[in-house]
């Protein structure tokens, strides 16, 4: 059990301490005070005796404070030469102290923390401060107030003297304290400081309360001295900060950093000390200090400069030392891994030793110091990973740090690296363009789309793993892939739009017998990856339409269900890209989606009436389909309409056309002979093969039927044979068409060419009874594709013309480049607006007088009023 403060032993011990420890100190203090007040030095008793007031002194505001003030003016006159009295205070035991002495004792207890102080002592001084300031006839620091009238001027003067005295007292005492700490080092210094800090925190509020009553005259004083402090207590706190904390700070930081460094080297330290130190620094931060600036070293605010900067510098130094050898030997994987590991440790450490406000500063500095330097090598590794999808775990840490600050150059580096590497690899993977080599378009599309799509899938997966929490990087990767697909490099090198390759790839998948339910969606997804990144959506749709038409007309599609699934998949992909607005991709896709569905529907359903009518006319089994021109508009119109067919077939066709026209409000049937096939049974009298008797079954297109019928009809009459010119005249076909079909029939050995002309091969023989030569020739296909390219370009020009007129209506006058930019951004999703197409559109519009050039400047367009 602790003893009471009034117990004899406590009192005795206190008296002993007072006599042996505090006594001498007090004596010194009194001497100092006396010197200042120019009185002779002496012990407390002497001074008390001298200044002791008369027994009949008037009680002051409190019982403890007494002032030897005269009772009346008379008594003052009677007194010894009108000598001012000193203010004395009496404690509970009756001991009497001079006011300033008592005040100094309280302040010592509050500031120096060397002596304990009771509540009574504190309150006594508190009351005395209040009383002494206005007590008339008594001297406070050499200034005596008038006995009768309260002189405001003197009141102010007296306060000022008191303020000055307090300031000089604090400065002196704190200088002593600071000097005391000079010999202390290391952790002891931290301990010492932390004690002082705790004491300071406690004392601040007490000081503030203590001087409340003397703050009355503060405004005048503050104004004179040009201070910002609201009261004397604030001034004292600031002095405390300036005289002690500020002076000791740099030594403390060195000691603390030395301790943290020891901890980094796995030495156990008392982390609590360091933590308290940094926390107190933050709390000590004066209000008028600038906010923390964390852009980079040079921009650090003052506060950072004193406290955080040495800490951060130590952390950078430590990491640099640890990783230098790895970076120097270019072991980037290990380097990045170690940097990341150390970053995490430093962050954890900083959470303990730095204030939360300073963590960002540390992070930014470390990022600037280490990550910016390794963006390029990191990106190189990232792209390697995107290629191979290995070691993602090793790189993830580094990127997880990089993405923290999402700097533009991180993305830019990644983008440049990805695109240049992808371009290099794709040109290695697909070295020959189908335009200038024997590589087929479908074979090329298989390679190119597979490469591009795999690149996308791998890259996307890697980026997803590397930046899983940051959609900015995923969007950036999509944008990179778009740039790659639409790059001028690819277009120039391939000489084919990647969108067209995607359509070719779809065609291949939908025709290939190796396509199964299992791999169909996966394969189609590859084409969709390129489709969604391509800016030439209309090119894709057009070529897809052409291939779909061919597949449906030639019955080369593997499955109608697959066709339907593919159409839906394309539509859904397009819808997912839809950004709304009047020129949305979804709107464009909907138009094509409708067409595709109708194509599939028309090819799947048969008009029974027409079918019967045709069979009735022709006299043998035949099938006919009527297709809408506006839906099947991507197959080249057949210009060989007037081909001379066998009489029976020709007659049946005419009858059907007439019937159809009557039935369906004068609609006209236009025959697509190129896509017409016939199965013909032919007997060759001189053939010695095993099928000679049964005859051969030829699958021919309409033109081949026309040519063959010519030879069969004239078999008996003409033994001389036909010349090319004769065949042209007889069949009414173009020379190009005849040449092409004759070439096929001669190669198949159905016809033979002799010196006298072209004859039917009477001795035809083949291993197979059924011979199909109806397939469309590659040359025809190429011709058709060229036609389609031209048609697509025409459509693009029309789109641009519409846009230009639309824009010019509102803009009225605009420069060439601005108008191009407007149109390019407006049509960006549909197709890539090239300058050439744009200029062609402008030429047409000027010619049609929709717009005109300014008469002063050829590069300014005007909308005619």
């Amino acid at each position: 059990m602790g003893k009471s403060a009034r117990s004899k032993s406590k009192i005795r011990n206190r008296n002993v301490r007072r006599a042996t420890i505090f006594g001498p100190v007090e004596a010194e203090r009194i001497q100092r005070l006396a010197a200042k007040q120019q009185v002779k030095s002496g012990n407390i008793g002497e001074l008390m005796d001298t200044d002791e007031p008369a027994a009949s002194s008037v009680s002051a505001a409190t019982d403890d404070v007494e002032m030897s003030a005269p009772k009346a003016s008379k008594s003052v006159k009677k007194g010894s030469k009108n000598k001012p009295k000193r203010i004395v205070i009496r404690n509970k035991k009756g001991r009497i102290f001079e006011f300033l002495d008592a005040l100094e004792r309280v302040l010592d207890a509050l500031v120096v923390c060397r002596e304990s102080m009771t509540y009574d002592e504190y309150m006594t001084v508190y009351s005395a401060i209040h009383t002494c300031q206005e007590a008339p006839g008594y001297e406070v620091l050499g200034l005596v107030m008038d006995t009768e009238n309260r002189d405001i001027f003197k009141l102010v003067q007296r306060s000022r003297i008191l303020y000055d005295w307090l300031a000089s007292y604090i400065e002196r005492v704190l200088s002593d304290i600071y000097n005391e700490s000079a010999a202390i080092r290391g952790e002891n210094l931290l301990n010492y400081y932390i004690e002082q800090w705790a004491h300071f925190q406690r004392s601040c509020s007490l000081l503030s309360s203590l001087f409340t009553s003397v703050d009355k005259q503060w405004i005048e004083y503050k104004h004179d001295r040009n201070f910002n402090y609201e009261c004397i207590a604030d001034r004292m706190v600031q002095l405390w900060y300036d005289c002690f904390f500020k002076r000791i700070a740099s030594r403390l930081v060195s000691s603390a950093i030395a301790m943290v460094d020891s901890e980094r080297s796995s030495t156990a330290i008392n982390g609590l000390r360091v933590t308290k130190l940094y926390k107190s620094f933050m709390e000590l931060k004066p209000l008028n200090m600038p906010d923390i600036k964390v852009n980079y070293h040079e921009d650090f605010g003052v506060y950072i400069h004193y406290y955080e900067m040495p800490y951060i510098a130590a952390a950078i130094h430590y990491i640099d030392e640890k990783t230098y050898s790895l970076r120097a030997s270019n072991q980037m994987y290990k380097y990045i891994g170690m940097v990341h590991e150390l970053f995490l440790k430093e962050e954890e450490r900083a959470k303990q030793y730095l204030c939360s406000e300073s963590l960002i500063a540390l992070q930014v500095c470390l990022n600037n110091e280490f990550l910016i330097k390794c963006i390029k090598p990191t990106n190189e590794l990232a792209v390697q990973i995107a290629d191979t999808q290995c070691d993602v775990d090793k790189l993830q840490p580094s990127y997880s740090l990089l993405q923290q600050f999402e700097k533009h150059d991180v993305l830019e580096h990644l983008q440049n690296e990805f695109i240049s590497r992808a371009l290099r690899d794709i040109f290695q993977s697909c070295p020959y363009s189908p335009e200038n080599s024997s590589v087929s378009m479908s074979g090329f599309s298989l390679n190119a789309i597979t490469y591009l799509s795999d690149k996308y899938e791998l890259g996307k997966a890697a980026i997803g793993m590397l930046f899983k929490e940051n959609p900015t990087f995923e969007k950036a990767f999509d944008s990179m892939f778009k740039q790659l697909i639409n790059s001028e490099d690819i277009r120039c090198r391939f000489k084919v739009d990647p969108a067209r390759l995607a359509a070719e790839f779809c065609n291949l998948v939908l025709k290939s017998r190796s396509t199964t339910e299992g791999n169909f969606t996966h394969l189609l997804k590859k084409a969709m990856n390129v489709f969604q990144a391509s800016s030439s959506k209309t090119t894709f749709f057009s070529f897809y339409s052409l291939h779909l038409s061919r597949r449906l007309l030639n019955s080369t599609s593997i499955s109608m269900d697959f066709e339907k699934t593919a159409i839906s998949m394309i539509y859904e992909t397009a819808l997912s890209l839809d950004n709304g607005g009047d020129l949305s991709i979804g709107g464009l896709a909907a138009v094509y989606f409708g067409k595709y569905r109708q194509m599939v529907s028309e090819i799947s359903t048969r008009n029974e009436q027409l079918h019967d009518k045709f069979n009735e006319s022709i006299g043998y089994e035949a099938s006919v389909r009527v297709l809408s021109k506006e839906v099947w508009d991507f197959i080249k119109p057949d210009y060989d309409q007037n081909v001379v067919l066998p009489v029976q077939l020709s007659k049946a066709c005419d009858q059907l056309a007439k019937y159809y026209s009557e039935q369906y409000s004068n609609r006209i049937i236009r025959w697509q002979w190129l896509y017409t096939t016939a199965t013909v049974q032919v007997y060759f009298p001189n053939s010695k093969s095993r099928y000679a008797a049964a005859g051969y079954t030829f699958v021919l297109n309409a033109f081949q039927v026309a040519i063959l019928s010519l030879f069969i009809d004239s078999l008996v009459a003409s033994a001389v044979g036909y010349t090319l010119e004769q065949i042209c005249n007889e069949t009414n076909l173009s020379v190009e068409r005849i040449s092409m079909e004759l070439d096929t029939m001669i190669r198949a050995k159905i016809l033979i060419c002799t010196a006298t002309g072209i004859h039917l091969n009477q001795a035809f023989s083949s291993k197979h009874q059924r011979v199909d030569i109806s397939h469309t020739k590659a040359d025809v296909k190429r011709h058709e594709e060229k036609w389609l390219e031209y048609e697509v370009a025409k459509v693009h020009v029309e789109y641009i013309m519409a846009d230009v007129v639309y824009l010019m209506k509102s803009l009225k006058i605009i420069s060439h480049k601005e108008l191009f930019a407007h149109v390019a951004s407006r049509r960006g999703g549909y197709f890539m607006v090239t300058m050439h197409l744009f200029k062609v559109a402008i030429d047409k519009l000027i010619h049609k007088e929709y717009i005109c050039r300014s008469s002063d400047d050829y590069s300014i367009y005007e909308y005619p009023t």
């Binding site: 060439h816 480049k817 402008i842 010619h847 050039r853 050829y858 590069s859």
Partner: protein, 211 residues
Amino acid sequence: MAKASGQATSKKTSKSKMVAGNELQKWFNENQEHKDGRAVIMPEGFERLCEALEFDMDGIEPMVLLWQLNGVELGTVELEGWEKGLDEMGVRDLSGLKMAIENTVEAFKTNSELFKTFYRKMFDYLRQDKQKSITAEYAVAVLPVITSNMWVFEKFVEFLKANDDKIKTISRDQWQSLLALSRNLEPDMSNYSKDDAWPTMFDDFVDWAKA
């Protein structure tokens, strides 16, 4: 306005000097024909006028004369245009007319706006049946006459000749832009950019010229 501005010298003669019954009016009356009820000088008559003025029919002067007399089409001048033109030039006899035309041709060298107006009007004279374009053939024939010693035009005519199977017509825009091109293009064509607003035909022209 541009037309008038180039004839500062010829316009010094005051309007009052133009009187009915002068030599040129007499000449018109003698050579006029009637078309759609209007008095006109037909191409044969215009050729006679050029002969009277001693103008070479293969030179620029007949073109300038036609323009100054407000010709309605190639070689055809109406009375109204004739009188207005002579009035503006302030001439009343053949010698005065000859001098005015020669002065205008001379003014082309210094007054680019005047030439621009003349050059643009030429397109209208070369159109057939009010079509929007002129044939490349006409352009090949006329351009060297009206733009002698201008290298871009010379080169362009060569280009038209070399591509006569592809380029059949010249539009008004191409015609007018050609003059702007001739004034902008460096001799080595290094300042030509396909991204500029020039008609697409000029892209082909520059490619052809550089090849």
